[in-house]
Symmetry: C2
Subunit: 313 residues, 2 copies
């Protein structure tokens, strides 16, 4: 891997010695690089809920290791799966990974699933890079990097593949309030990878677009409904409307583990409401963590199988 | 005035004893209610630059008192006016107030100008309230309250007039990154006035609109060009595009001291770029403090003279 890259095992791994699931604590980045050890399902559920590990594919991988942990401890695997599935509502990767693991809840199986997610990221990135013209200035939101996927990244993976091919000139990084995954995590990853970038407040994206400083928007996804409607970090829908207004392409890069054929449309995706205290402890606040972007506003969805364009049929 | 209201002299006033300009230090709200005393033009320029006093009409009023201070001190009034005019570039009220004061730089004149700004706010509010239907849920950005105008408020003035008439059901308050004038100042003012409100991250406005929870957007302005293009806090243009996409009215409420007939269009308005450290000290950041909303996206501009609709001719 390239300089400054995070190894998949740096982000989340299983250790038989314990046994335990070890996470890079994303709440403390970039100030501190600290690992969090989860020896029980309750500890892992708390880690997922509190965003020590976050990003749809990464929490799927963490839950897969969690099921291996439950089996190794002799816990009831069904009970553990239910607790992990309920830890966060929006990302479908959690349910997907638990279903995948159910018949074989072993560390070896979880590691294979983890490896496959990272391989999907690399495949997506190669497909997505085809969408970039020379000198592209891309805007991204939240963190869809290696931290979010357990290695390499989805949207950030696409950006690194484009950067390696000499097609990417610059990345505008939305800081992504309230928890600043953009300025804390994406900027940190891009910095380590040596990719040119600038952090902006989320609300500045529109005027950068109007000034002609943005060529496309690239994000990850937490759940893609059967019709292509896509749930992702709050603010993603706003960017899609703004991109359409400025006639810019809006790309979603996500593995098929994020696609939920059992959810017909975006209206059926549960949107997590987090504690308003994440914004302000002083006043009443609403804190939806995700929003839904209608398929009609998405130029293309890129999975490991290729580029799907147009999304809306 | 109503309960919880700030008196104009609480926000900015001139004291002959000193002499000095006394400001409510808006950087320290809402945690602390502390006054800042400026005894020299340099101190007042520093206070305006560092946002101890902010909001286009309020900095105009502060500069008016500043010119009275310069004259009382025996400073060269031209030099003082130039320093004050250069303290911040986007709001035109600064230049307007200094031009108004030039021939009579006395405390009495500055106080009259201050009173007139507050009277304009009350007149605007009465006009703007006519635009509200019963049960309106309005969204506002930044702080266009009494703190921003030296009393009563422009956009917030409109909201309070609508609230008093029983037409306003709720206010969504954009927190307004990077300096959080929405969650720190507007929420504080609305709370004191007893007006129902909820703080949101700026990027959540779009999904609230999509969910049908917003009926209109109401903001202030820092400078209105001759063609109606309007500069205001970064993120305002984003809201205007989103309002148009969701077919919601977008209202600008501002006194005529904000209109600059010498600036033909929004492209001619200087946009202040502030230190990126206001976002993050860690990484490269761009921090434009304002953006420009084209007249075509503004449903109406309300001044003390009435409602101008449509704005674009």
């Amino acid at each position: 891997m390239g300089r400054g890259d995070l190894e998949p095992t740096d982000i989340v791994r299983y250790e038989e010695d314990g046994p335990r699931v070890v996470l890079l604590d994303q709440r403390r980045l970039p100030e501190e690089r600290v690992e969090l050890e989860c020896r029980t399902i309750d500890e892992l559920v708390a880690a997922i809920r509190s965003l020590a590990v976050r990003g749809a594919p990464a929490i799927g991988v963490a839950a897969a290791y969690g099921l291996a942990l439950a089996a190794a401890r002799g816990d009831d695997v069904d009970t553990a799966a239910a607790a992990l599935a309920a830890s966060r509502p929006t990302a479908v990767n959690l349910a997907w990974a638990l279903a995948e693991m159910r018949d074989d809840p072993t560390p070896a199986h979880a590691r294979r699933l983890h490896d496959e997610e990272v391989a999907r990221c690399r495949a997506m990135a190669a497909h997505a890079a085809e969408l970039f013209g020379p000198g592209t200035r891309a805007l991204t939101h939240c963190n869809a990097g290696g931290l979010a996927t357990g290695g390499y990244g989805s949207a950030v993976g696409a950006l690194r593949a484009a950067w390696e091919r000499g097609l990417l000139a610059h990345v505008w990084v939305d800081e992504t309030r309230p928890l600043l995954q953009g300025s804390r995590l994406t900027a940190w990853e891009l910095d380590a990878l040596g990719i040119s970038h600038t952090v902006i407040v989320d609300s500045a994206a529109a005027s950068l677009m109007a000034a002609g400083d943005v060529d496309c928007v690239v994000t990850g996804a937490d759940r893609i409904a059967a019709n292509g409607d896509t749930a992702n970090k709050i603010g993603t829908y706003s960017l899609a409307v703004l991109a359409a207004h400025h006639e810019l392409p809006f790309y979603v890069v996500a593995p098929t583990s994020t696609i939920d054929l059992d959810t017909p449309t975006g209206a059926d995706i549960p949107i997590e409401e987090r504690d308003g205290a994440e914004l302000t402890a002083r006043f009443a606040a609403r804190n939806p963590a995700f929003d839904v972007t209608p398929a009609a506003l998405i130029t293309a969805i890129v999975t490991e199988h290729g580029v799907r364009e147009p999304v809306a049929l």
